[in-house]
């Protein structure tokens, strides 16, 4: 005989149990919102529990059994989150799928996870599933949230969410045991149960289903919730893909643990506007979002009146000088504080307001390297933006930066209760409270990732910086060594170079060589503008790329990078000794880039072999002829003599002054 109180009193090792707890301790507080029909429809924790209860019971009527897997396909909609909870309550395993997955990917996941049920957002998703229906032997029933356009479909194995919930209410009304049955199901749930299976968007080969256990998820979420002082006073906007670990962790898991309120935007397009309305207190976005936002800000300011523009840039400059110090509570001259205060009234405050950042206490970014200027722009506005490093296998957090100790080029120290080790190959290994159980139906992959001592191999290379913060430098497999054995991380060097607006692409070489060298691609827009402003005339990309002054400019950039590297014990040896500027733009049509604009190092190495040789044989210039594909697909050859520059190399500086940054 289970009831809510008993569960709430007992061990809270599954999300449904947490849900019950929340419904009891903060039943009246908002748990979820969705922008719908013009207002933020809101559900309190107890209402959410009821929704989940009715839906779960409805599913049971439909024959859902403990151990069944249920696909959840769609964008961030409350009902889809309730589905996750309901499935977990019945001892099943939810399998979220990316809404934008093409039918093929969808089919693979649903088949691989042999889902018995699928809950889809709308007609579009339903159609997708139906289109591959014949392959889904185990699929028994499908449920949809948004009925529009589905009236005329055959409803023998297709049900509307309402219909299911009505069933649930029915049984609640008719038989008294229903309620108890529901709570029994929850109570039967064990911490060791698989709470969810998240499919990693596989960069290599088929995507793998990461199995996460309830107790570990909760353990991890609890740690970070404490780490960031999250409470039920917080509000978040759930706009990241439902099937991505980030969303499940930051919104669902932490929400259940801390009991804060999750808001779902009206639609993808309105997310930005909804963000502004909700004004979340905890926020996550990948670097490119912040970057896009910054560009839009600058573009819009261009249309502002001259005075306003001047004021804006003046105070942004003030912020650059004092902002971050004030944010990190470092000493700041009074003048600085006053100016900053004024700027806050005139620019930062309003700006954060229109961006929807006013109430943010903690914001994270992760996933890729973020440009230092970009990063400090937001921080200087007083936005507490931090970096974390994580993985689906770790249930997100591996490292996270603490308030006040934030840098753009590190990802912070190990998160609470996380152990990190750097293997001799330089790969980052970890053990964390949230770490996964294994890959679903894929043991050898699991073995490949978790070694006998239980360390999870991230596949990323990194090292701890002097202040104990982890620095991720590259995918481990891409990291090589110079002849003298120093670490050579091409991506790391390339990123440092690419943060300069003039540099479009950079390709670094050095594995098994005496020193590292780079190819550079100029950014035609940036350099072109610069050329116009300094009335430097040029007839072609090639001419501009070869222009002495351009070389000067990029040389100074490379020099800056070397200085930086010199400060990083581990990387000092990998400073750039020689570089050249390619006479043509690296192009996917020529197979030099992937379609996703990533450099194909090996291909380039072999295609521009002579140039690489030249970089290492000390010659100061080199003639090269390469085949190119033009817009119209015609093939042609272009030839050029490429200049090569030598760089000064700096002695490694051991102890570092922040000031030097």
């Amino acid at each position: 005989m289970a009831d809510a109180a008993a569960i709430a009193g007992g061990r809270l090792d599954t999300f449904p149990k947490l849900l019950v707890r929340n419904a009891i301790v903060r039943g009246g507080k908002p748990a979820m919102r969705e922008k719908d029909l013009g207002i933020w429809q809101t559900w309190t924790w107890s209402e959410v529990l009821d929704e989940v209860k009715t839906f779960a019971l409805g599913l049971q009527d439909l024959g859902f059994e403990r151990g069944d897997t249920c696909a959840v396909i769609g964008a961030n909609r409350p009902r889809l989150y309730w589905t996750i909870a309901a499935v977990q309550a019945l001892g099943g395993t939810p399998v979220p799928v990316y809404a934008d997955a093409i039918a093929e990917e969808l089919a693979y996941v649903l088949e691989h996870a042999d889902v018995a049920f699928a809950v889809a957002e709308d007609q579009e998703q339903v159609d997708k599933v139906l289109s591959v229906g014949d392959r889904l032997k185990s699929l028994r029933h499908m449920v949809y949230d948004e009925p529009r356009g589905l009236e005329k479909y055959d409803h023998t194995r297709l049900h509307s969410f309402e219909a299911i919930q009505t069933k649930g209410r029915e049984s609640l009304r008719t038989d008294q045991t229903a309620e108890v049955r529901f709570f029994d199901e929850i109570e039967q749930g064990k911490g060791s149960d698989i709470s969810i299976i998240l499919y990693t968007s596989g960069t290599t080969g088929r995507s793998k289903g990461v199995m996460l256990s309830a107790e570990r998820c909760i353990a991890a979420a609890t740690d970070t919730a404490v780490f960031d002082h999250l409470s039920d006073a917080d509000e978040v906007l759930a706009y990241l893909p439902l099937a991505w670990v980030g969303d499940h962790y930051l919104n669902y898991a932490q929400g259940m643990v801390a009991g804060f309120c999750m808001a779902c935007p009206e639609s993808g397009e309105t997310a930005q506007h909804d963000l502004r309305e909700i004004g979340p207190t905890f926020y996550f976005a990948p670097p490119r979002v912040f970057e896009g936002l910054l560009t839009r800000v600058m573009i819009r300011m261009e249309d502002a009146s001259a005075i306003k523009r001047k004021m804006f840039h003046y105070f942004i400059d003030v912020a650059k000088r004092y902002g971050e110090d004030i944010l990190d509570k470092r000493p700041v001259p009074l003048v600085g504080r006053l100016l900053y205060g004024l700027g806050n009234a005139l620019v930062y405050g309003p700006l954060k307001n229109v961006l929807g950042f006013s109430r943010i206490r903690t914001a994270y970014t992760a996933g890729e390297a973020i440009g230092p200027d970009l990063f400090s722009f937001y921080r200087s506005l007083g936005l507490n933006l931090k970096q974390l490093y994580g993985q689906t296998e770790a249930f997100l957090y591996v490292t996270a930066q603490e308030d006040g100790h934030v840098r753009s080029d590190t990802v912070g120290p190990a998160a609470p209760n996380v152990e990190i080790r750097i293997s001799e190959t330089g790969e980052v290994l970890f053990k964390s409270p949230g770490m996964f159980i294994g890959y679903f139906k894929n043991d050898e992959a699991t073995k490949g990732t978790v070694d006998d001592e239980g360390w999870v191999h991230t596949g990323d290379a990194g090292f701890f910086d002097h202040d104990g913060q982890l620095k991720i430098i590259d995918r481990a497999k891409d990291v090589g060594k110079l002849v003298d054995g120093t670490l050579f991380a091409p991506k790391y060097i390339e990123n440092k170079l690419k943060f300069f607006p003039n540099v479009k692409e950079a390709v670094a070489f050095g594995d098994g060589r005496d020193f590292s060298t780079v190819f550079l691609n100029i950014d035609l827009n940036a350099v072109g503008n610069w050329a116009e402003r300094n009335n430097i005339s040029y007839a072609s990309y090639q001419e501009l790329a070869g222009h002495p002054q351009v070389y000067e400019m990029l040389q100074s950039n490379v020099d800056k990078v070397n200085r930086d590297l010199a400060h990083e014990s581990a990387m000092a040896g990998a400073q750039i000794h020689r570089f050249l500027i390619l006479h043509k733009e690296l192009d996917a049509d020529d197979g030099e880039l992937t379609r996703t604009q990533k450099v194909r190092r090996s291909f380039i190495a072999e295609r521009y072999g002579p140039l690489i040789e030249a970089l290492y044989d000390g010659s100061s210039e080199k003639f090269i002829e390469t085949e190119v594909t033009f817009e119209d697909g015609r093939k042609g050859r272009i030839a050029a003599t490429v200049q090569i520059r030598d760089m000064t190399v700096y002695p490694a500086v051991e102890e570092v002054k922040e000031a030097a940054e």
Binding site: D36, G38, E266, E269, T270
Partner: protein, 271 residues
């Protein structure tokens, strides 16, 4: 005459469908100028009925007669079984006839929301007195209707212009808002006067989709005037063709397309 028989045939084919509106021998003229001459046709419950014809064929006048803005000199109009002679437009509205206009007739000074809200006027029953204080019944009523209106906004996918003054909206959207306003009246018969005039292809497709959805989801009977033959043929169940104020054909799109008079009319063969 033969049109009438056609209708009869069609009727048998569909097993005596319920007739919602019947127009019998209606004639209308302005100071001697004849706009409509002795026209008869019917609109069945739940169908999409198209009224087509060259410019000046009297299509719009026909709609104006149906919703009581013009009063025909001769003829009878029977709506839901009740024959009626003179009725004021607002009476037509209260009987469940809504319409949109050839050249958008929105309330320019109001927002999209208010415009659609205005469609609820007849459905708001609470007494004036309560509205003085926007309190009690009036307030709750206002809220209920706001919800309904939001559903329509959602249905027509115009959330993003909810608060925008309609005057500033692009033409295509204005047409959509106007449709929303008509829907807000929860009409039984919806008259659409060139719902797609001046729209680009994409907008036309959207509008067609909405019209079909309205017809299927709300089961609203629709009579529409449209120039775009393609649209008419796709949307409508039956078509009545007017020319110079006279009915020259009536039947399914196929029948009408085949009809010689219609072809002549559209090719402008002189009568």
């Amino acid at each position: 005459m033969n049109a009438a028989t056609e209708t009869a045939v069609a009727a048998e084919a569909t097993g005596e469908p319920e007739v919602m509106l019947k127009v019998e021998n209606v004639s209308l003229s302005f100071g001697g100028v004849r706009a409509i001459t002795n026209i008869s046709f019917d609109i069945r419950k739940g169908e999409i009925r198209a009224i087509i014809g060259p410019n000046g064929a009297g299509k719009t006048s026909m709609l104006n007669v149906i919703n009581g803005f013009y009063h025909p000199q001769e003829g009878v109009i029977t709506f839901k079984g009740a024959a009626r002679s003179k009725m004021r437009p607002y009476e037509a509205a209260s009987q469940g006839i809504a319409r949109t206009f050839q050249n958008v007739a929105l309330f320019k000074g109001m927002s999209t929301l208010d415009n659609i809200m205005s469609g609820r006027t007849l459905l708001m029953k609470k007494h004036f007195f309560w509205h003085l204080f926007h309190y009690g019944p009036a307030r709750t009523e206002e809220i209920e209707h706001r919800r309904k209106v939001e559903e329509i906004i959602d249905f027509l996918e115009i959330q993003h212009i909810r608060r925008a003054p309609v005057g500033r909206l692009p033409y295509g959207l204005q047409k959509r808002v106007e449709l929303g306003r008509a829907l807000a009246m929860e009409p039984e018969l919806l008259l659409l006067d060139e719902p797609m005039a001046g729209m680009n292809l994409e907008e036309k497709e959207d509008m067609s989709r909405f019209i079909l959805d309205v017809n299927s989801q709300f089961g609203t009977t629709i009579a529409l005037i449209e120039h775009d033959m393609g649209v008419v043929m796709d949307l409508s169940d039956r078509v009545v063709v007017l020319d110079y104020g006279k009915k020259i054909a009536d039947g399914t799109p196929e029948e009408v397309q085949a009809n010689q008079d219609v072809i002549d009319a559209y090719l402008g063969v002189s009568h």
